[in-house]
């Protein structure tokens, strides 16, 4: 049994949806078990960090890493798994581009903690806050400390492959498992390092079956306020659909079901900054030439930053908003 190559999967700042997506490949998961020795997978089996630390460097063949780098524990494990793994895959939107947890980069860490522990929706009458370290009779104990700016996996360590999606579609995971098994059997070659795997090379629009004409709009609509034409491009109907900038690979699931694409597969091939591409695309469809009229139409786009960077904030060019960078700079000075 020891001859089987080793497999690990880890979750950092994520929701656990990626693990469920892996289980959603049904019987295919048996192929993973048949071909791999699972050595570390916190959500599925018991293992300690010290067991991983004791492993030989490069002894794990394949590690799927999901989640962004939110605290010093995430950072430590990312570096550890990088050292221990031959192939490290940024698995899912969080590890690739920050995803929903990355939206916290619009605030500083103080505001994040306040929101979690001291708002009306939290039952915390005694204002109990987490402490990074605490002295017990048995000695000092620690919990991980939050980093001021959430980072993507490749902003912390070297990454071999990128597998986008929130979560990656099951049929895409199956295809990747098949490929890896074939590579193990010597029947296929690995793609070049740095490749995006388990996704398409084009945009969601390319896979979308809705009819596209010349797009011009006089107002933006919110999806709950209109009954969209089932056959016509959503953006053409004024519904802010992120399809033009989003990587294909999901078979245009949301637009097919009548909802706008929110961009969970991240930037399409060749898109440098996801939000900037959408600024470009949305501005192009607006049918107005006077600044006042343009502004009135743009008022319909309630939260442009959130609309354009819902999944991609931490992976974008600007990466975080001013309050988070300010906290980062204080953090760096304290470290120094």
């Amino acid at each position: 049994m020891t001859a089987k190559p080793k497999f690990a999967m880890y979750w950092a700042a994520s929701c656990g949806g990626c693990e469920i997506a892996v289980l959603n490949i049904h019987e295919k998961i048996l192929d993973v078990d048949a071909n791999f020795d699972v050595v570390f997978w916190p959500v599925a089996m018991d293992a300690k960090y010290k067991d991983v630390e004791a492993m030989e460097d490069g002894s794990i063949l394949l590690t799927l890493f999901n989640g962004g780098i939110r605290n010093d524990e995430n950072e430590h494990i990312a570096k550890l798994l990088r050292k221990k793994s031959k192939i490290l895959v940024a698995f899912g939107s969080c590890a690739n581009e920050g995803c929903i947890p990355g939206l916290a980069n619009l605030s500083n860490s103080h505001e994040i903690v306040e929101t979690a522990f001291n708002t009306i929706s939290t039952d915390n009458p005694n204002k109990v806050y987490p402490m990074a370290s605490y002295s017990m009779p048995e000695g000092e104990i620690h919990i991980p400390t939050i980093l001021p700016v959430l980072k993507t996996l490749d902003q912390v360590v070297d990454v071999d492959y990128y597998m986008p999606g929130c979560p990656p579609e099951s049929h895409q995971i199956e295809a990747v498992v098949d490929l890896v098994v074939k590579v193990l059997q010597g029947k296929a070659q690995l793609p070049p390092k740095g490749s995006v795997i388990g996704a398409g090379n084009s945009t969601v629009c390319d896979e979308c079956q809705r009819a596209r004409n010349v797009k011009t709009i006089k107002s933006f609509e919110r999806i709950w306020g209109v009954a969209p034409d089932p056959a016509l491009c959503l953006l053409e109907q004024g519904i802010p659909c992120n399809g033009p900038a989003t990587r294909s690979g999901c078979n245009a699931r949301c637009p097919t079901a009548g909802a706008q694409c929110i961009g969970c597969y991240g930037p399409a091939e060749g898109v440098v900054d996801y939000g900037a591409r959408l600024v470009s695309a949305f501005a192009s469809v607006i049918d107005a030439k006077e600044p006042e009229e343009i502004d009135a139409i743009l008022d319909g786009l309630v939260d442009p930053t959130g609309q354009f960077y819902r999944f991609n904030l931490a992976g974008s060019l600007l990466r975080a908003a001013a309050p988070a960078w300010k906290a980062e700079s204080t953090h760096e000075k304290e470290k120094a």
């Binding site: 690739n96 930037p267 900054d273 600044p291 990466r319 975080a320």
Partner: protein, 157 residues
């Protein structure tokens, strides 16, 4: 802010009007602050918002976008597209806590060298008053995906 702060401004000019306005300002020996680094595009409609975000993320304190006057675009109406992008960019940058005044849109015809120079001068003073942007300077490295993608050919959306 400190007295010695000299803002770095990236200026995008269009080939047909505003670059020529800058040229005219030069040949007419009109003085304007040297803080602006001009990059010539064929048209203001060529301005990908990525250029602006990348400039701000990599050390620019302000970005100036210039084009032909409305109705006078060499490519018929691409400067209107630039206008719409500009207005949407301002809103997006605000969400990042970046003062929208750090980007400015200026229309200048090939005959308006003096106007071009005075717009540069007033923009430099405005950005100077806002202070350095210093975006993510601490511990920040350019996003890997972004850098790699720059090398690749663009895929039309």
């Amino acid at each position: 802010m400190t007295q010695s702060f000299e803002p770095v401004i990236i200026g995008f000019t269009c080939n047909w009007c505003s670059y020529r306005a800058a040229d005219l300002a030069g040949t007419a020996r009109i003085k304007y602050p040297p803080n602006v680094r001009l990059i010539r595009l064929m048209c203001s409609g060529r301005l990908d918002p990525t250029f602006v975000f990348k400039a701000l993320a990599n050390g620019a304190d302000g970005v100036m976008i210039t084009g032909c006057h409305p109705g006078e675009c060499h490519y018929i109406e691409q400067n209107y597209k630039a206008l719409r992008r500009f207005q949407l960019m301002r809103r997006t940058l605000q969400g990042f806590g970046i003062d929208p005044a750090r980007i400015r849109l200026v229309w200048a015809s090939a005959a308006e060298g003096a106007r071009f120079a005075s717009e540069v001068a007033s923009f430099v003073e405005e950005v100077r008053a806002l202070g350095p942007l210093n975006w993510g300077k601490n511990g920040s490295v350019p996003a890997r995906a972004a850098e790699a993608a720059m090398e690749k050919e663009e895929v039309p959306a």
